[in-house]
């Protein structure tokens, strides 16, 4: 099955991946500079000159310091596509989807999709500055929430998690199981920032951020950038890397009503974007070999796994506590360590690891069977979702 409307030979594939060094905190470059590095790395990985790339999509992180001017920085000429994309943590998946449609339609030959951010400064904690919500204006109705102390992502997700815990009996120890499994994967990933062993006791002893979340329920914050090159299957035949086919995709933006009956914290948009992506790819969930799930918080992994159907609704806590998602488990998930332990590049974190796994380039952490890789993006406070189905094969 190919993407509907595809010009023959123009099935979309990912042919290049560029990751700036994030194995430790890196300072001294702007988000745009990191992004330019990542595009150059992705082009080199693909075997393309930057000047051969026909389109550019950018996604700025919370510091908003990346945009269309990147094309000028990279001396890109006569682009057939140039836009800034913003769906928060769902943006990486969204960029791949828009690039895939443009390639499949014959509008553009190749598109670089890039995320970059540089919120960290020396001697400043990850919870300070842009990601701490500092300096946000409190005006009008929307100001009431932040003025009430609900301005940061950890607090927004803690409220969502509290509803899941209340409804289904999910526990902090089950959240901890996600952190432990992620770290076990990260210890096998030379690209990961956090490679020291982590136990459930370490998780439980870590300081509280917003209860019910401990420190180790929360993702890292990273300076850096990741870029991906989308092109056609025909074009990829003459490029350096084995192509990773984009077989299916979906998005959901639930728009939870803020009133009685809302499923906020109970059901995520993955419940819709997941089945739609799998239907487009012509696969079922049992075909998925590897899951790369947006994990801004441990809870996000649990609710997403439930909504994709890897376990029953409400049983995500028990599922992760069984060891299913860690190395050697039946449902290898976030095999690079995710945003909890490897690096925080919004949706580019799960996407980059998915490309590595689909290619079979995961080294010590490579999952032996990697014919179908599911990539999940999630943004806002569970407000934006994207799903991709990737494969080293052109048919699933």
């Amino acid at each position: 099955m190919s993407v509907p409307g595809t010009v023959p030979g123009r099935q979309p594939v990912i042919a290049g991946l560029g990751i700036t060094d994030m194995s430790k905190r890196v300072y001294g470059k702007s988000a745009s500079q990191f992004a330019a590095d990542a595009v150059r790395l992705a082009a080199a990985d693909a075997g393309l000159a930057v000047s051969e790339i026909g389109g550019l999509l950018t996604n700025a992180g919370i510091s908003r310091a990346l945009g269309m001017s990147l094309a000028t920085d990279l001396q890109m000429r006569d682009l057939r596509m140039l836009s800034e994309i913003q769906s928060y943590g769902a943006s990486a998946g969204a960029m791949i989807q828009y690039a895939s449609m443009a390639v499949a339609a014959g509008m553009v030959d190749s598109v670089a999709c890039v995320f970059g951010d540089a919120p960290l400064e020396p001697n400043l904690g990850a919870g300070s500055g842009a990601y701490g919500g500092a300096g946000r204006q409190s005006v009008g109705y929307s100001g009431i929430q932040s003025a009430s102390g609900i301005g940061s992502a950890p607090t927004g997700y803690a409220l969502a998690a509290s509803r899941h815990m209340d409804r289904f009996g999910t526990t902090t120890e089950q959240f901890g199981a996600v952190a432990v499994s992620s770290r076990e994967w990260a210890m096998k990933n030379p690209l990961a920032q956090m490679r020291d062993p982590l136990t459930l006791a370490d998780h439980q002893a870590s300081r509280m951020i917003t209860e019910p979340f401990h420190l180790f329920d929360c993702c890292l914050v990273s300076n850096g950038a990741i870029a991906v090159i989308v092109t056609s299957a025909d074009r990829a035949q003459s490029l350096r890397q084995p192509p990773v086919h984009v077989l299916g995709w979906g998005q959901t933006h639930p728009g939870y009503p803020l009133e009685r009956g809302s499923e906020f914290g109970i059901v995520s948009g993955a419940a819709i974007s997941g089945p739609e992506a799998m239907k487009m790819a012509g696969i079922s969930l049992s075909d998925v070999d590897v899951a790369e799930i947006y994990d801004c918080f441990t809870f996000t992994t649990i609710i997403s796994l439930e909504d994709y159907g890897f376990c029953e609704k409400g049983e995500g806590g028990a599922f992760v506590a069984s060891g299913a998602i860690g190395p050697g488990g039946d449902c290898p998930t976030n095999t690079g360590g995710g945003q909890l332990s490897s690096y925080y590049m919004w949706g580019m974190t799960p996407l980059s690891e998915a490309v590595i796994q689909a290619r079979g380039q995961g080294g010590e952490r490579q999952v032996p069977k990697h014919d179908v890789v599911l990539v999940s993006g999630n943004g806002g406070i569970l407000q934006h979702h994207s799903t991709l189905i990737l494969s080293p094969h052109d048919h699933s």
């Binding site: 005006v139 009008g140 929430q145 409220l159 509290s162 209340d166 951020i209 209860e211 009133e259 809302s262």
Partner: protein
């Protein structure tokens, strides 16, 4: 942590006039009677834009709850601020801070009622208490 400063804009002026007088406003649909948040511009039930302000009784139940921990300084215990979502008895949800509440006793399902706090230089903001 006490509540921060919120400034009014044109859309929220009536709401903050009411909070200053100790009243919590919601919106009522004149077409179908559905009650929604004060900020709602279009009825989520019937899509009518004929909405008018109405007074909430100011009572409801906690439907989401978290405790924001401050950073511990000089060995003192961190501050713990209870925040969450209240479902008003009329149906709308409101993001809020809880006051005069034991952080270890705060939980989903507790009945709460509105109070108001007005920091220097800002509008009066609804908070909730047991």
């Amino acid at each position: 942590m006490s509540v921060g400063i919120v400034l009014r804009d044109a859309q929220s002026a009536d709401f903050f006039d009411a909070t200053a007088a100790g009243r919590l406003l919601v919106k009522r649909c004149q077409n179908c009677g559905h009650v929604s948040q004060a900020s709602t511009e279009m009825c989520p039930q019937c899509a009518s834009v004929d909405l008018t302000f109405a007074d909430s009784a100011g009572e409801g139940v906690i439907v989401a709850c978290g405790v924001v921990n401050g950073r511990s300084k000089d060995g003192t215990p961190p501050s713990r601020t209870v925040v969450g979502i209240v479902e008003l008895d009329e149906g709308p949800w409101i993001y809020t801070q809880f006051v005069d509440i034991d952080p270890d006793a705060a939980k989903i399902g507790l009945r709460v009622r509105v109070a108001f706090e007005q920091p220097e230089g800002g509008e009066a903001i609804p908070v909730f208490t047991i």
